[in-house]
């Protein structure tokens, strides 16, 4: 055998991971739907002041509970007014901000706590893992709704308190999933290779572990974001969520619930909005999970 083998060409057919992800994303119906709804809500939240000519706080006690246009109301308040005569559309639009903010911040706090714990436990194993597992167990054993209610009841329900409490209570899934994912990635040989090549610990965590557990992180982030939004609504429903007159959707449902049997639209409108938001976040999360399924083994 005398000939040298030809230089094997790079497999042109295979696009880069990012291109593949994008391609899959564009074919994923759930992701597109979730993304679109989410985008609309996001835009509404951002441009809330421009989209409504009334202030969400302006009361008009003589024009209470005016029905929305589709139930025979007037066009000035096309979604009607609430029990204090405030414009429902304006509150809904501004409420999108609050709900998104609660979801984002609470999920961010828990992501920071949970993924740090999870990644450290998964990477180091041994005692660190035991300690983290214990913490996770403690956290799981605490009844979330009960503790959240108690804390909000005792410390008052400002936005900050609610976000912090939810953030401090919802990190378990981050920790559990990232711990498992990190353990898996840590066993892979490229981590060993990086170590042998003299990479420092932070560098390995940052460059080799984090990017490869990122898809889990994002998926859990969306789940917990939805979870936080629903929980806040539940707290508000029980009267222990954020403080009025902040226009949170949960609060709107809680205020509208009083008239459930007589003016059902009062609770239906924010209820549907909340449902759509949570639905879109969840679909987005599911989509991301499908789309970012780690490629490699074809």
């Amino acid at each position: 055998m005398t000939h040298t083998p030809p230089v094997p060409p790079v497999r042109e057919v295979q696009p880069s991971p990012r291109q593949m992800m994008l391609r899959r994303a564009l074919r994923h119906r759930g992701l597109l739907f979730g993304g679109a709804v989410m985008l609309v809500i996001l835009l509404i939240a951002i441009f809330a002041p421009l989209l409504s000519q009334h202030s969400p706080y302006a009361q008009s006690l003589m024009a209470r509970m005016k029905p929305p246009v589709f139930l025979g109301g007037e066009a000035t308040h096309w979604l009607g007014t609430d029990a204090l005569g405030r414009d429902y559309w304006s509150r809904l639009a501004h409420g999108a901000r609050v709900s998104l903010m609660i979801g984002l911040f609470a999920a961010t706090i828990s992501a920071l706590i949970g993924s740090t714990l999870g990644i450290l436990a998964g990477y180091f194993g041994g005692r660190v893992d035991m300690a983290v597992t214990f913490l996770i167990n403690v956290r799981l054993a605490m009844p979330v709704v009960l503790v959240a209610l108690a804390v909000v009841a005792l410390f008052g329900g400002s936005l900050t308190v609610v976000v912090t409490v939810l953030g401090l209570l919802l990190w378990d899934r981050f920790a559990v999933v990232l711990r498992a994912a990190t353990m898996q990635v840590r066993k892979l040989e490229y981590v060993a290779a990086a170590e042998v090549l003299g990479a420092s610990l932070p560098r390995i965590l940052w460059k080799d572990i984090l990017p490869n557990v990122m898809n889990h992180l994002i998926v859990i982030f969306t789940l917990e974001m939805a979870h936080a939004i629903i929980l806040e609504a539940a707290l508000s429903f029980l009267g222990l969520g954020v403080q009025p007159p902040t226009p949170s959707w949960g609060l709107m449902i809680s205020e509208g619930k009083e008239m459930l049997l007589f003016e059902p639209w009062l609770i239906t409108i924010p209820g549907v909005a909340l449902f759509l938001l949570v639905l879109s976040i969840n679909m987005l999360g599911d989509g991301i999970r499908d789309v970012t399924a780690p490629e490699g083994r074809n």
């Binding site: 230089v7 880069s16 290779a193 042998v196 090549l197 460059k207 080799d208 490869n212």
Partner: protein
Amino acid sequence: MTDPILSIRNLTVDLPRGADRPHAVEALTLQVQPREIVCIVGESGSGKSITAFTTMGLLPKALTPSSGEVLFEGRDLLTLPAAEHAKLRGRRMAMIFQEPMSALNPCYTVGDQIEEMFEQHTTLSKAERRARTLHLLDEVQLPDPPRIYESYPHQLSGGQRQRIVIAMALALDPALLIADEPTTALDLSTQAQILHLLKDLREKHSAGILFVTHDFDVVAEIADRVVVMKQGRIVEQGPAEEVLTRPRHPYTRLLIDAVPRRSRAVGQDLSRSPEILRVAGLDKTYHIRGTMFRPARTVHACRDIEFGVRRGETLGIVGESGSGKSTLVKCLIRLEDPDNGAVWVEGTNIAGYSRRALHPYRKDIQIVFQDPYGSLNPRRTIGDQLAEGPTNFGEPRAKVMARARELMRIVRLEPEALNRYPNQFSGGQRQRICIARALMVEPKVLIADEAVSALDVSVQKEVLKLLNEIRDRMGLTVLFITHDLRVAAQVCDRLIVMQKGEIVERGTVDEVFGTPKHAYTQKLLAAQPGQAWEVPDIASLPPARLDAMGGLI
């Protein structure tokens, strides 16, 4: 000639749209006679398993047979209703799979799982079923059948499990037995036993066996006839003796040529060159914490390991799975901390160094791992990963990238590949990239831990050649870990043989393979399949002639 048991004619199986080729199997024709072992060989992805699955009626939903026929006992299986086909399975045709570890349901005793065959296909009473099962267990040479009968799969070794699967397959005396790489996952001595068992059983049960493998040594050991496949097509078939010693098709020749020889052209004399790495008294014990339901135990993965390697030398480390080979190298590169012992690299003992103190010595020893898919980070470009090492040792980016480009050329990849991601490369290409990555920091010692085990023979050959070249060109010292004795013989200067964490034998290749002293080494050597087969010298064969379609004339 008697009637064939199985006769596949002109079979074509379509792949789903978007696959890299339109057909998994194309225009395939083959026959299996009673008491005949027909081996299908070919590289990964050539359609061997698909052929087997089509016959069994176990094709994944995505794949559909589009033309041809599969005649079994006079009936065309492709047109047979699924329910009828299911009735044949297990009773008239049976199958053994590659992965014994996962082929059995972990939730039921193996006795129960064998008995299911009788339950499904016969009307035997409970007691009879049990008796027949115990008999089968005895027949596949399992010790203490009543105990095995009550065991769960996880309580048995891989070889034992494979025997259970075989027992299951033979339960109802099928006319056809299909074995899809049944020994690939087993170690040498177990493989030898299973092959022996199959040969015996063919006689006793008068079944025809379709045996799928990619290992020519196994073919040489058991095949009556050989079918060679490439990309879904049969390129050559004939009696074993004929195909193995006088292959006619270039592809068959390429494959056989790639089979490592059992000897190596003697390299340069190294007795004068200085010792670059020395290991002494190295111990490593794993304490496995008792998990929820299992008691704790300790494993002595390495015990009192001692050896030295000279500059430019290739030291082979062989031994069965679990003998401690990987643990040893992990201790050398300090992915694990040895419990005891010293590791001298050019006179510096790095065994006890802290992480920080070790840093400058890191680049002296580099490693290439087995799994071509797991050893590259899928989220980083090749260039970024190649640059990792030198960057960590503070080299300027420009210089690093220049070197990366050069190394890409050395491992025969285009420099543009640096901007791509691992998923855009094949397994063999990935192994080259890993070698390049290891070489980026200009190591003194390169460890290859089963670096070619996961590759097809032809690719394996390329990579081995590359390694050889690089070693000679750069004066590298190589620790070559493998369980494949052929490979070891071909690339190593000296060998050490490990068993249960200890070195049981050492010496030059000729010493170890020619006059093994330790019983374990002897056993290992004896278990090699196809020893009678002398790999032909392809260059000396007459040139092949092909028709326009790539078929033989």
